[in-house]
């Protein structure tokens, strides 16, 4: 097996573990923990989508990843303004 493909699969697995960890953080009782968890989940899913695009040659994954990277922090900042009051 190609070494680059193997390392991409390793990164895919570790990002899946990280996504599960951030989902667990996002389901804690306070709102700030939910913000932290979702901020981590958005970048994890974006990187997973870029990996899927590179491995399986699915082109539209890049557009979804770009939307996630832009809209994830924007939503976090907007909700933080609401949380601050």
């Amino acid at each position: 097996m190609n070494l680059l493909l193997l390392s991409q699969y390793i990164l895919l697995g570790s990002l899946a573990v990280f996504a599960i960890a951030t989902i667990r953080i996002a389901t804690r009782k306070t709102i700030a923990m939910g913000l932290v968890g979702l901020s981590g989940l958005s970048i994890a899913v974006a990187t997973i989508l870029i990996l899927v695009q590179n491995i399986y040659n699915i082109g539209f994954c890049r557009d979804i990843a770009f939307a996630l990277v832009i809209l994830g922090p924007v939503g976090t900042i907007a909700f933080s303004k609401v949380l601050r009051g």
């Binding site: 190609n2 070494l3 680059l4 193997l6 390392s7 991409q8 390793i10 990164l11 697995g13 570790s14 990002l15 573990v17 990280f18 599960i20 960890a21 951030t22 667990r24 953080i25 804690r28 009782k29 306070t30 709102i31 700030a32 923990m33 913000l35 932290v36 901020s39 981590g40 970048i43 994890a44 974006a46 990187t47 870029i50 990996l51 590179n54 890049r62 990843a65 770009f66 990277v69 832009i70 994830g72 922090p73 924007v74 976090t76 900042i77 933080s80 303004k81 949380l83 601050r84 009051g85």
Partner: protein
């Protein structure tokens, strides 16, 4: 010429494996601390920064510099907004 391509692939693989190690370490660190610990949110924001940088490096290696640069700009603003909202906000039981 073939050896140059192999060397570039080797460097890419090393960076991807390094970023996957840092992502796993941050996944362990983000669920390690108990919720009743005082000001644990700042520690979790700090650990999230490690995962952010690892994902930025992975995106750069995978050939997406626009995504990496935009997240490199946006991520500190998001982390600062969360910490600022927690410091000045109404949640005191965390």
């Amino acid at each position: 010429m073939i050896s140059v391509i192999d060397t570039i692939e080797l460097i890419k693989s090393v960076f991807l494996i390094l970023s996957s190690i840092f992502v796993v370490l941050s996944a362990i660190g983000i669920i390690r601390y108990k919720d009743d610990l005082e000001r644990v949110l700042y520690a979790r924001i700090h650990i999230l920064g490690v995962a952010d940088v690892a994902c930025i490096i992975a995106l750069l290696v995978l050939g997406e510099p626009l995504l990496a640069a935009s997240y490199f700009i946006f991520a500190p603003f998001a982390s600062h907004a969360i910490a600022n909202a927690y410091y000045y906000g109404e949640e005191k039981n965390d």
